[in-house]
Structures are given as structure tokens and as C-alpha cells.
Amino acid sequence: MTTNAHDAAADDFCANDLLAVTADDAGMREGLRDILVEEAPRLLTRMDAGLAAASAVLVADAAHAVKSLVATVGGRRAFALADALERRARQGDTSDARQGADALAASIGKLTADLTAFIERERRTC
């Protein structure tokens, strides 16, 4: 995945990406959702701490971790936002990072909701 305007405008949740990772394993989808619910706030807190300390390295590392997490559960938009944050932070640029982090948090919130709804729908269908 690369960062571009298309990705930035991508869906918060892409079911196809999730299905590529999990295929026929519904249990894996539920497990990944639980991990997202538990891990995402922790990683966003790490990013906040990096921003508060004005540490580009901490911001970049936190963004990288978020990127990896959301890629596994079909979070296309969150991935693009985290990727942009990481790239700029790696160059020492955290000027717009606060705004980016807020957008990322919002996208992860939407991702969590969409993912949960997807799993619920799937459960009802079965």
C-alpha cells in the first residue's frame, strides 16, 4: 500500500482486505477485532505522548505500529493516514502531526465500528 490522494480518501474499512488476511476463518476476524479494540487506544496514547514530548521518533514509531495493526484488519484509510504521519515524522516534521493524529483516531474509531458491524452481520447470516 502506498500513500496517495486515493488512499487518503479510501474507505475506513475494506472488507476485502480483511478477508484476504482471514479468508474463511471467522474466529480470526473476531480475534483481530478484539485486538484492535484493545491495542489501538494504547498506540494512540503512545502517539499523544510523542506529540506532547515533540519527539518525531516516538511519533514515527507509534505511527508505524498503528499502520501494521490496521493493515491486518482492512483499515485502508487509517493505514494511509498513519503512513503519512510516519513518513513526515521520519523526516523530523511533526508540524501537522496533531491534526493527522486526530484524523487517525477518528478513522480507527470508524474502522472499529464498521468491523464490528461486519462481524455481527456475518454472525447473523451464519
Binding site: A20, V21, T22, A23, G31, L32, D61, A71, T72
Partner: protein, 455 residues
Amino acid sequence: MLNPHAAADGAPHIRRVQRIMVCDDDIAVRFALKRLFSMELGADVVEAENGLAALKALRSHVPDLLVLDLHMPFVDGVETLSAVRNTPSLSHLAVIVLTGECGADIVRRVIDLGVTDYLAKPLSKTGTRERLKRIITSLKVDTRITGRPQRGDGDAPVLMAGAKLLVADPSEDFRYFMRTTFGTRFRIIEAATGVDALDVALQAKPNAIMLGRDLPHFAADQLAQKLRALKVRPDLVLIAVGAKQELEQVRATGLYDACIQRSFVPEVFTREFDALGPASVPLAELLGKCPSLRAQMVSAAEQVFGMMLKMDIEPRDRVVVPFTPPFIVARISIEVTQSLMANIDLVADISSAEAFAVAMFGIPEAAEGMAELSNIVAGRVKHALVSDGVQAVLGLPDVRVVDSGGPDARTPDSLGVRFGVAGADHELEIRLIVSPAPAAPVDAAGATLPIGENL
């Protein structure tokens, strides 16, 4: 893990993958892989959240397979892999790296350290499952060197340049003659008596022993019997040297691989000696001695292409013999012995060659990119030759990359594998060619060119 039962009845050694360690700082990736490995393979999976945790766990728990992320805090994947390779008890551990984004320098470092395969991130279950099948299959192949192939009557022994040759002869003059005539071609060890010869043979395990007829202590035939019985090495070549009138009787003993008439004329003796066997090893024989070489070649190319392109690369066409390529993008020459070259050609349609280079290196200079790729592949194949013990079997002093470059002549004696990028038109082939080392190229005016100049 080797299966001792399979070894006992001569069946291939089977390596079972029952214990897997997954090392990744992303808990979601660890969870997904753990679930996949447990359900698909029934494997016990141990998790490690970074390289440091993995190295600690590896002290007490050595898995059959380590799946290692490259980008991790504290101790990253490259550092972890380096530590694994530098630890004797872990140095042969099968390692699969997880690659997301990494530059050419990291890819080169990882490949140089030795990895079994790679998985591209983000993971795809189907892709990972398919890849797993291939990885497990490749782990099932016993990559140890096979013994010397049985030779039929009349087949000459093969003694490669750089081989260790023990000259056991009471004549100081003959030993001096051998030293000066063959010293640059073989590693000559000397013994003046039968006892010394046996002692040296047991310690130095030479590739070949040349036995003079009048050895003190042990007569040549007695020593030959002993050496065969003691199985100094399975591929030991025994050469009897004697007067013309003795040779028929010596041959009749059936103890020797070859008999040569003694001579102190270098041209005559060298001609007789060279007639014993070919100066180069056919491709099939080299592959026979190093059964995993081709697999290593394939896996090296797959790893390089896949890691550079950050996607799964699948072989499309397995074996092509003889093979006429549309275009050789680069030829990597590896000097296997003084008289033997192994060439690895990277072959592609001329249109896709440049696209490949650009895709892999992000630069328009295709030639530069391909040279970089050539070096990486050559390094891996060299590593395979060394680690598989081909050097030991052939008695090679060294295997070194001689050159890498552009298109060159084609040869039918080759093995090839065609690779394709999923969803793209680009295809690339690699093939291995083994050929006698060419004489230094000469240009039209007769001046000698440095090797590679014509590539």
C-alpha cells in the same frame, strides 16, 4: 528435525515443522500467524514481541522454524538474524522474514545472513498458506551433500582443481616433481612411507591419493586396501603410479580408480593425468553433488525479487533444458575452480527487464539495478556452495564471484526457472550454466581484455 527412521531405510530425511516461533512487535500479526500455523500445521507456536524476547526464548526453546519481522523496536529483525547465525546451536535454524517496507541494503544484509524464505506484509491468508506449503516442502528436502556418484567401468575419476592430493612415494625426486608440476593446481600433501601416508590420509582426508609402488612399511596395495576399508572418505580417488610393465597387474587388483605410468616429463605426465577425467564437471554432476544448489538458486532469486518488490513471486516454469532465452539481462560468473565457471544468467524479455529493474530499485538505470541484483543472487549461490559443503567435496580452495554484467552468449547446457510477478507482465528467468573457464578474451586486435569486459 531429521527423522532417524527415514534415514535408516535410506528414504529421504524428513524435516517436520512442529515448533514455530513468531517474532513480531504487532500483536495482530502474531495472532493471525499463530492461528494459521496452529490450524494448518498443528504446530506449537511460541510468540516473541521483539528480537530481544526471541533471542532470550531461543536459549531454552529452539523451534523448527523462526518467523521474524524485520522492523521491530529494541532488537530488530536483522540484528536478531545476525545473532542467530552467529550462534552455533542456532546457525542452521530455518528463518522466514516478514517484509513490509525495507530498502535494498536491508534486503542484501538479510539475504547475506541467510533466510529460508519471506512473507510479504500485509499478510494474505491464501498467499501465506500457499507459501507455507512451499516452505515446508523445501524444509523437507535434506540438503546434505550426497555421496560420490557410482562410476561405471571405464569412467575416469574426477579430480577438480584445488583438490587435496596426497602424494605417497618414497622418491623425494618424484614428490618434488609433483610439487612443482601440480602445486598450483592441487593442494599437494606428501608422505614418504606407507605409515606416514596412512597417518596423513586419516588426518587430512585428501580427495585423492597417488600411491607409488615401493612404499616402505605398507606396500601400496596393502595401503590401498586399508584406505578403502577405513573409508577415509566416500569419494576418495586412489591413483597408482608405476612403471609401464607393472600397470596391467596393478589394474587387475581392482583397488585403484586409475593407473598412471610414472614419468618425470611434465608434459607427458600431465597429459596422462588429465586423461583420467574431465577438467570440468558437467552441470548434472555439480547438481548431483549439491542437490540443494538449484533450490538455493531459485529461493535466492525469489527472495530478492519478492523482497524488493514487496510481493509474492511465484515460479512459473520449473525446468527448461535446453533453454533458449529471449534476452540475457545479466550474467553472473562464479569461479568454482580454476578451470570451472558457474554462470547464472538473469533472463527477461528486453521490454520487461528494464521494468523489473525500475520496479525493484526505483531507478531508471536498469543496468545498474540489475548489477546490484546480480551481486545479491551471486552471493546467495556462493553461500549455498560453501554451506552445502561442495567446497569440501570438490576440494575447492575458494568460490568467488568473478564478475557480473550484461548479455552474453547462450548455452544449451543449463537449468532455468521462470518467475513472474502476480498481476504483472514482467517475467524474469534465472538459469545455472556450468562451463569450463574461458581463456581470457581477446579483442579483434589481439589484445587481452579483462574478464567481464565482453559481458
